[in-house]
Amino acid sequence: MDLSFFVIQALSGLASASALFVIASGLTIVFGVTRIVNFAHGSFYMLGAYMAVTIVPWLLEFDRSPTLFFVGVLASALVVGVLGVIMEVVLLRRIYRVPELFQLLATFGVVLIVQDVVLKIWGPVDITGPRAPGMRHGVEILGQRFPAYELFLIFVGPAVLGALLLIMHKTRFGVLIRAATQDREMVGALGVNQAMLFTGTLFLGAFLAGLGGALQIPRLPANTGMDLSIITEAFVVTVIGGMGSVPGAFIAALIIKMLEAFGILIFPKITLVLVFLLMAVVLVVKPWGLMGKPEVASGRAVLPEGILNLKGFSRNETVVWVVLTLALLLVPILGDTYKVKVGIEIMVFALAAFSLNLLIGNGGIVSFGHAAYFGVGAYAAGLLVTGPLKAPMELALVAAPLAGGLAAALFGYFIVRLHGIYLAMLTLAFAQITYAIFFQWVEVTGGDNGVVGVWPSRWAATREVYFYVVAVLALTSIVALRHLFYTPFGYTLRAARDSANRADAIGIDVKTHRWLAFIVAGAAAGLAGGLYSFSKGSIDPTMISIAMSIDFLMMILTGGIQTVMGPLVGTAVFHSVKDFFMPLTDFWRFFLGVSIIAIVLIFPKGVVGALDGLRERMGRRAPAPTTPPAVARETA
C-alpha cells in the first residue's frame, strides 16, 4: 500500500465524516434543548434527499449552473425545516413532559408515518439525483483521481460547524440554545419564550438533517431505507460526542469515519463492529460522551414510570386468568389453523414482551433493542437445525435461551453502566450491530433472505402439537418470570430503579443486579425467538430489526408498563390487531405510527392501566351514594 492510497482513503473518510456531521449536529442540538431523542431526524434526512431529487432537476432545467444546484439544495433543506416546525407544534409540544420512553416511541411513530407518505408520493423505486454541475470531474491527487464533489463535501462540515458556532455564540437564539442545553428549567424560570425557542430549534435541527440529505443526492440515490440507516449512525455520533454538544458531534463523526475508512483495510467485514465497540468503550470510560455533561439532577423525588405497587391476584383475577389460559389451551381443539398460528405467535411474543417488562416496568432499564436477544435466540435455534450439525429441535430450544442470555450478558455488561437516554441509545446500538452481523454474514445466515427449513422434530411437526410445545415452554417461563417480580431479587431491581443512591447506601450492588436481570430477560427473549423460528419454519433479519424491538415496546405499552400482567394483554391486543389489519391495507405502517402516537398522547398507561384507573374511579364513586343520605338524616 502506498501513500496515495492512504491519502485517498483519508480524504473519502473526511468527506463521509463531514456529511455525517451535518446530519448529527441537528440531532444533537435538538436533544440538547428539548431533551427529546428524535427518531424522526432520519426521516427529515430522507425527506431532504427526496425534496432535492425533485426540486434540483427542476431548477437545473432552467440553467445547469452550480448556483441553481445549491439553491435547490438549500430550498430542500428549508422545506424540511418547515416540516420540523410542524412536527414540533403538532406533536413534540405535547410530549416534553412525558417519560423518555414515550417520547422515543412517539417520534418513531413519525418515522413510520413518513415512510408510508414517502412511499405514496415518490414510490418504492430509488431515485437517482443529478450530479452537481461544475463538480462532476475528478481531481488528480498523488496520481489518483478523487471526485471533486467529495472534496467539496470535506469543506461543508467545517463550514457548518463554523456557522453553528457563530450562531451559538453571536446570536441571542444561539445563546438561548446553549443556555437551555445546560439548564432548561433555569431558562424557563428566566422568562424566555420557550415555545419559540423550541420551535426555532426544531427548525434548525430539521434544516440540518434536510441539508445533509439534499447534499447526498450526487452520491446516493434517494431511497426508502435512508431514514433508519442514517439514524443509527447519527445516534452513535451524538452519543460518542456527548448529547447536546456540537463540537463533540464533529469530533465523533471524524473519529468514526476515519475508523471506518481505515478499519475496512484491516477488518473489511466488521467495520461496524469497530464503531460500536468504540461507542461502548467511550461510554464506559466517559458515560456522558466525549464532550457531554451529566444531566442536571432535578433533586425532586419523582414517581418512577413503571410498576408502582405489586398486588397479588385477587380471587376474581385468578379466575379470569385461569379461564383465559384454559380457553387458550382449547384453541387447537376448537379453532382453525389460522387461530392456532395466531395463538402460537401471541404466546411467543407475550414471553418476549413479559421479559422486556421485567427490565422496563420493574427495573427502569429502558431497552430499545430487545429484538437483539429474541433474534439471537431465533438464529441460534434456526442455524443449529439447518446448519451442518442438523441438531434436533429439542437441542435448539435449549440453545436458544442460552444464546439470548449470552448475548444479553455481553451487551448488558456495558449497558447497565449507563443511565437514562444513553442507556436506551446503547441498547439500540447493540441491537443494530446484531442486526448488521446477521444481515452481512451471508455465508452463514443467508443475509437478507435468511434460512428456511427450520422445522420442529417429527413428533411436534403438526401445528397443533407444536402449539402445545409452545404453550408449555412459554407459559411456564411467563409464570416463572412473574414470580421473579415478587421475590427479593425483583424488589431489589425495583429498589434500584426508585433510588440508585439509596440502594447503594443499603449495600445493594446496583449494576450487578441489573446485569443479572438483563441476562434473565435476554434468555427469556432468546427462548421466545427460538420458539418463533420453528413456528415460522425460517429465520430472517426482520426478527432482529428495530421494527421488532418497537413491536415489543408497543406490546408492553398497549398493556401498560405499570402492571405485571399488562404486557400479556397488550401482546394479545396488539398482535391480533396488527395481524388482522396488516393484510387489509398498504399503509399499515402509517396506521401503526398513528396508533403509537395516539397511545402516547391519550392512553399512556395502556389497556390494563386504564382499566385499573377506571375501576379505581368506580370504586371511589361507589360508596358516594351511601354517604349523602346519612348526612341528610343528621341534618334532618
Binding site: H483, Y486, T487, P488, F489, Y491, S499, N501, A505, I506
Partner: protein, 263 residues
Amino acid sequence: MQPLLTVTGLEKRFGGVTAGKDVTFSLAAGEMLAIIGPNGAGKSTTFNMVGGQLKPDAGSIVLAGQDITGKPPREIWRLGVGRTFQIAQTFISMSVVENVQMALISHHGQTRSVKEAATRLHREAALGFLGRVGMADMADRPVNELAYGDVKRVELAIALASEPKLLLMDEPTAGMAPKERTALMQLTSDIARAHGIGVLFTEHDMDSVFGHADRILVLVRGEIIATGTPDEVRSNQRVKQVYLGEAGSQAALKARRQAAEAH
C-alpha cells in the same frame, strides 16, 4: 477506649478548589458530632468521603479499627455505616414497611434470592425499626403519600435497619418545618444514645446543631478552624467572625438555652 471513627489528614481537591485540607477528627460511639460551616466549606465533601461517595486524595478513614478509605458506599454500609441524604432517598414505589424490609433483605444478603415473596421476609423486624422512629402505624402506607417529615423518619429507619455503628446524616432537617426538625433531632439523639451509635451530621439549622450536637466541628474553605463543645464553638471569636456572625451567635445561644431547659 479507641474512638469509633478516626479521620486523619483527609484531603480533596476539585481542579483548583481545595474542598478538604488536613481534615482530622474522631467520633466516639453514642456521640453526636456536627460539621458546620459556610456554603462551599467542604462539609458535604468531608461527609461524602466518609460515606464512600467520594474518594479522598490523601488521608485515612478508620471505622472501629478497620480502614475504610476509598471503599464504595455499599461496602462501607456492610461495615456498619448507615446514611440519610439531604433530599430523602427512599424506594418511592414501595410501602413504608417494604422500604425497611428491603434494607433488611440486603442486610441478610438475600437480594438475589428468588425463593419466596419479598413481602414475607423480615416484616416483624422491619415493624420494630419503624416503631423506633414512631412510624409503625403507617407501615402499610405507600411512602410517596407521606408528609416529608415522615419520609425522613422512614429514611432513618432504613438507615438503622443494618444496626449500624455509625450514622451519617447529610442535612437531616433540610426542607422540614421547625417543629418536625426538633422532633427528628431529638429522636436521632435518643436512638444514638440508647444504642451507642455514633452520629456524624452536617446542618445549617442552628437549633439542630447547638441544641443536639455533643461536639461541633467548624469547616471553612476545607480546613477545620475550630472544634469543641457547642458552648466552646459558640464563644469562639474566629467562628463568630467567619461563619456565625451576630445573628448566628444569637441563634446558637438561644438553642443552647432551650437545650438546657429541656434537660
